[in-house]
């Protein structure tokens, strides 16, 4: 029976404290999981949020001014900052994955270096945008 071996009980050492403190994700792993998280955030709520703002600012002169005033609210600015980070990270990490797909930078050293670049560049872009925003 094929399922017998699949159902064999194996010891598991995964606990919350192990996940939090003992199992450390290597940097490429962080790039990967953040790629997922940022992607999910971009699908919802960010895509809807940006469509909403584009809709309003294209609809009328008042709508544009309302959107501009809306973007001045501190909480909205914070949201925009998170959006910029998500977009920048998803973009940079995505480019890295495309390069990995065509076998560029798959050696351990290069892969580590490129993951550092992805994390840094997206944070720098977010910081630059934050400075422009405030």
């Amino acid at each position: 029976m094929a399922s017998a071996s699949a159902k064999k009980l194996r010891p598991k050492y995964l606990s919350l404290s192990a996940l939090l403190f003992e199992i450390r994700l290597p940097l490429p792993g962080w790039v990967s999981i953040l790629h997922r998280i940022s992607g999910a955030l971009l699908v919802f709520p960010f895509a809807a949020w940006l469509l909403f703002m584009l809709d309003a600012s294209l609809a009328s002169e008042q709508g544009f001014e309302r959107t501009r005033a809306y973007l001045d609210l501190p909480l909205v600015k914070l949201g925009m900052l998170l959006f910029v980070w998500a977009y920048a990270h998803h973009f940079c990490a995505g480019m890295r994955f495309l390069l990995l797909d065509i076998n560029r930078g798959i050696e351990l050293k290069q892969a580590r270096l490129s993951s550092v670049f992805v994390l840094l560049i997206s944070l720098l872009l977010t910081a630059w945008f934050g400075v422009k925003l405030w």
């Binding site: 999910a40 469509l51 294209l58």
Partner: protein, 114 residues
């Protein structure tokens, strides 16, 4: 015993490739849009309306949104397959995501051709 080779038919290859091609479309549109917004005139309602009244911008934006929806569908489906194990719940979430992405497309058409 059913001897079905589930990995031999390349079920996922089409999605995999589509996700990468749509990624490039999204990336190119994003960079062009950024350049247009930051290098062009300061944004105002008139400038924005002028930009989106041009045929190429409308078509490019629609192609971008279709790519985005397709790309997002492959990605979200991957996430759901990885983390949501109960079939009924996963199916429900998948249907909701399809409805969400379809309404994004409808909304985009409405915004572009009003």
């Amino acid at each position: 015993m059913v001897n079905r080779v589930v990995t031999g038919a390349h079920y996922g290859t089409g999605s995999w490739l589509a996700q990468r091609i749509t990624a490039l479309v999204i990336a190119v549109y994003s960079v062009v849009a950024l350049v247009v917004v930051f290098v062009g005139k300061p944004l105002s309602h008139a400038v924005l309306k002028d930009l989106f009244s041009q045929g190429w911008m409308r078509v490019a934006t629609l192609v971008f949104m279709v790519s985005l929806a397709w790309h997002a569908w492959v990605g979200v489906r991957d996430i759901l397959m990885d983390y949501v194990k109960p079939d009924g719940l996963r199916l429900t979430l998948e249907v909701l995501v399809i409805l969400l992405l379809a309404s994004y497309l409808g909304w985009t058409v409405q915004v572009l051709w009003r």
